[in-house]
């Protein structure tokens, strides 16, 4: 069973693409050489025996917010939705986890969000305490994981800017280009941008309503900026999208 430690690079500096085959079957002996923070192979090897495979069907929940966090996960295929809910039902989707992403890495004793599957998902599960103990003995690995958490924190700050200060158009554009970059990074880039999540998930992620998401996408389609296709969108005018999402 293979763990996916994706390269930790600066945004907009996509590292060497990883063959999709490596990411999609979590079995082979393929090795991932990280660009900036290469992990000694020994560390990979010590991590792997701890993991056990988990499989989820569509819309199954992996864990719930505030539950005792007894595991750390690494997604190997499919996509997870991560979210919080207010007592009155308002929801904030804090993010989506794709192959290679860790969830629960901050290792507090309770999960900070709920996680469920958008479609079929497979992941590696680590017993938290064992994971913690092991990582403690490998300062290099721990540093790497800390760095990944730092990246997530930086993305969280991007989200604050987006949610606090950007218009609906900008939010949608930023969301789309952000997905593009993530797909590039995991070697999944293609002409059409797959959207495994529904409109409501996008809305709850971007702080909008489903109607506004739908309207905004429709307008971008009408303006020949994107083309809405079943299961995703095709980007027609990349530069206009980049302009809208420009930080």
């Amino acid at each position: 069973m293979s763990i996916h430690l994706l390269p930790v690079g600066r945004p907009f500096v996509p590292p060497v693409p990883i063959p999709p085959s490596y990411l999609l079957d979590g079995v082979g002996k393929a090795r991932l050489v990280s660009l900036s923070t290469a992990l000694p192979l020994a560390e990979r090897d010590t991590l792997e025996p701890l993991s056990r495979r988990v499989s989820l069907d569509q819309k199954e929940t992996l864990f719930g917010q505030d539950e005792p966090a007894c595991s750390v996960f690494n997604v190997t295929s499919g996509a997870l939705r991560l979210y919080r809910i207010l007592p009155d039902g308002r929801r904030q989707v804090t993010g989506f986890a794709f192959p290679g992403d860790f969830v629960g890495l901050s290792m507090l004793d309770r999960y900070a969000v709920s996680a469920d599957s958008l479609g079929p998902v497979t992941a590696c599960r680590f017993e938290r305490l064992a994971f913690r103990d092991l990582v403690c003995r490998q300062p290099g690995l721990m540093m790497h994981l800390h760095e990944i958490t730092g990246q997530e924190l930086s993305r969280a700050k991007d989200m604050m800017m987006l949610l606090g200060r950007r218009t609906a158009d900008e939010r949608i554009a930023t969301f789309l280009t952000g997905l593009q970059e993530r797909y590039v990074r995991i070697g999944r880039s293609s002409v059409t941008l797959e959207l495994p999540m529904g409109r409501l998930d996008i809305a709850d992620h971007l702080g909008l309503t489903i109607e506004t998401v739908s309207r905004t996408l429709s307008r971008l389609d009408r303006d020949r900026c994107i083309l809405i296709v079943p299961g995703g969108v095709r980007v027609i005018d990349q530069s206009r999208l980049d302009l809208l999402s420009a930080h």
Copy 2:
């Protein structure tokens, strides 16, 4: 020179209050015993020699976003404003740093935000690489710092929920109760809640305009929920404030 490692506790479980004197003069020999994740004194002692004191006047900048991150800081007195700015001037204040708070702890090679002082500030500065090397050799310390980063990430998700899904009233109430809790934690709680930042800072933090912040505070004052006083507010109806900010 003394470093402030504040307890890492769950939200709403304020740990033993720390005498303000300890936090305000960064000199004495006082020791901070953390509730959940006590640091061996040896670790504190190894960290301290690395630090150098920095002092800032009002509205001086400590570092700018995207600058090479060559230092990690620990605030000892005063308060910092942490923010990002879009090319067109829109600003998102991602947070404020109070005594005991670390900034730059995620240790990416560039700062994720800009930081400047709201009033006079003192802090401990650590050379990043030395800090990193040292921390690498102290798994317990590193774990603790990782945990602090995890807490920050969790608060970032609170902010996403706030910015994406909550009304102006709720944002203001949540902001006020959040400040209360932080002040309790650093032993600074008092009848009046000090607001060292201006209305514009609050607005840019909560994704509102200065006018909305002012109006909302005025209404809470008119409704006898708070009392606006010079430099802060006095909370009159705590339960109503808690209700508004309830997660």
